[in-house]
Amino acid sequence: MLRQIEGSQAVAETVARCRPQVICAYPISPQTHIVEGLSRLVKAGELAGCEFVNVESEFAAMSVAIGAVAAGARTYTATASQGLLFMAEALYNASGLGLPIVMTVANRAIGAPINIWNDHSDAMSQRDSGWIQLYAESNQDAVDLHVQAFRLAEELSVPVMVCMDGFVLTHAYERVDVPTRQQVDAYLPPFTPRQQLDPDAPLTIGAMVGPEAFTEVRYLAHQVQRQALRRIPELAAEFETVFGRSAGGNVRPYRLADAQTVVVALGSVLGTLKDTVDEMRDDGIRVGALGLTTFRPFPAEALREALAPAPRVVVLERAFSVGTGGIVSADLDTALTGLPQRRYTVVAGLGGRPVTKASLRAVIEAALADELAPMTFLDLHQSTVEALP
């Protein structure tokens, strides 16, 4: 049933219907509304069989999650920005141990300068942490990705991050069909841990691994990620059967047929981008968009297949590697090696700056005219640059 609902609240209700057993949380904007909603459900007794643990830091939040999932509980937490960085050590640990935690990242910039608004710097900084990263385009998407995330995480015994743009999605009220418990139950079976701390069958988890086996552990982790690339579209197809709508998958092509320029993007900016594409198509300009839902593992083959016919590819980056350039662009360059096409990086919307249709259109037109620089900062205020000390 469609309801007008805040993104965070929709995610909280959805997570609750996934029957989590341990939720741990530390407050950080713009993630707080999600765990506030969940804490209320637990406190009110509406989420039976769930422990809500208020912890003293994000590092502790991820650590409690590690302990809880290792002891056999379906476990959820949420964070953003500095909080994700504070968790970094524990993130690698959770993935290294193959623990299927699901976490929402309400994407936000990283300081300094301190900035609470949306970009993808936080999640992208953890791209090598071994977590699967799924990016939501809308609040409906965010809700649906969470349901799939639990299934994916637990099937493969790997942690999954669902990234949703802070404020733009978390605090936005829009129409969302929040899944019913019956629907979720039909899609998501109870958690059966691959390994579990159990006095009746003692296990050593987290042994010290030396040079003789460390490479093999990483090799196997990579195989699991490759398996995820195959499994994610299958789980999306199954989701569509149960829920009657499409969500998830690795990549989402939009009006790619005969496109002379394709813009690749992640997250909520895809909405603005698709509107821009529609308007330009109406004007007879052959452009398309490609949404990247799965950023980790990187769906290189799917991207190559989708982008090979395009003579120009523009990557819209919501994060930026200082001193290097676009983060998605670097991965994409590897995936598209050898293709006769021009590729451009556009750094856009850092620290919450709005990405407008007008700006996007200008960039695409510049690309079509072969006048776009290899790397551009969208809407850079030259006067502010000159005023900064």
């Binding site: 003293e56 409690v64 302990g67 988890i205 010290m208």
Partner: protein, 332 residues
């Protein structure tokens, strides 16, 4: 042949056949779990290995074998689990250096929600993992009163990384980062913290201190801790021959002297109130006797006697004895 006086029996030896079976240590019985079994890679004379063995076998007895252990990074983790081997005969998880109390909280939460509160959770780490890098997580676990017994095996420095100073390193002790050079060699005075007293300030159900020199006392405190639910803390002094520069055969002796000179008080507290201290049976041993057999204090004796520094340490011991009332009645 060494003469054994009766008052030592069972208190100062692992177990003695002279005692009736019910009074013997868990460690002396054939029914012990061997939670930390043989074949691990601890150094000869390792106090931490000994302490962990006493603690965990006692905890296994107290819980009927229903125990999950969470281990911080450190010597204990490294020497016990060189893949593909493991010395643990219990469910055991190691996550990180600074998060063992939080991981233990997570395990406890999962067990609670699964209706398995019969399974108890024990977290453990060295002094670095407990009083320094894991302190925030420890305090969080305490204030939430999570059902976890956390055990600190305190060898007073970062031994696994090569004997560097921690917040539990005592004054004047030489470590790799408080070297025996300059006018005030070794660790400075006036620093460090008492984790047991800070634990007490959280008013958790049970806090106790113990050493590996008295296995009866150590095992009893583990058993006592397991009678409570909620957050509990046990701080165990475990000499490190490598870091302390003591003879490998002297681990028990050094730990005993630490108690007998008054520097390491044995106490138990419930809900923030001290309920028992172990009084010194005889006049306190001068700290010099404790310091002299450890090379980490060698600079106090050579090339010149540093009686000024030894006096300051003696004053610390005297103050501890007075503060906790460790002298038998009338002698203080």
């Amino acid at each position: 042949m060494t003469a054994i006086t009766f008052h030592q029996t069972g208190s100062l030896t692992v177990g003695n056949r002279l005692l009736p079976p019910e009074q013997r240590t868990v460690q002396s019985t054939g029914t012990r779990t061997n939670a930390l079994t043989c074949g691990h890679r601890a150094c000869q004379g390792c106090g931490e290995a000994l302490g962990a063995r006493f603690v965990l076998d006692a905890a296994m007895r107290a819980t009927g074998g229903q125990l999950v252990v969470v281990n911080a990074t450190g010597c204990l983790e490294v020497f016990s689990t060189p893949y593909p081997e493991s010395a643990w005969r219990i469910p055991w998880i190691h996550s990180l250096f600074g998060n063992a109390p939080a991981v233990a909280s997570g395990v406890a939460a999962a067990l609670r929600v699964r209706g398995r509160t019969d399974i108890r959770v024990l977290g453990q780490g060295g002094d670095g993992g407990t009083v320094d890098i894991g302190f925030g997580a420890l305090s969080g676990m305490f204030e939430r009163d999570d059902d976890v017994l956390f055990v600190c095996y305190d060898n007073e420095a970062y031994m696994n990384t090569g004997v560097q100073r921690s917040g539990a390193t005592p004054p004047a002790a030489r470590t790799a980062t408080t070297q025996a050079v300059g006018p005030d060699p070794g660790n400075v005075f006036g620093q460090g913290k008492s984790a047991p007293l800070i634990a007490m300030a959280h008013e958790i159900p049970y806090v106790a201190t113990a050493t590996v020199a008295d296995p009866h006392d150590l095992e009893r405190k583990v058993a006592r801790a397991m009678e409570f639910h909620g957050a509990r803390y046990l701080h165990v002094l475990v000499p490190c021959p490598l870091g302390w520069g003591s003879a490998t055969a002297d681990t028990i002796r050094v730990a005993r002297l630490a108690v007998q000179c008054g520097l390491f008080p044995l106490l138990e507290a419930e809900r923030g109130q001290i309920v028992a201290v172990t009084p010194l049976r005889r006049a306190p041993v001068p700290v010099e006797e404790y310091l002299r057999i450890q090379k980490r204090y060698a600079h106090l004796f050579s090339p010149h006697m540093r009686t000024d520094v030894i006096d300051r340490i003696q004053a610390l011991a005297d103050r501890t004895i007075a503060r906790f009332g460790l002298r038998s009645t009338g002698e203080a």
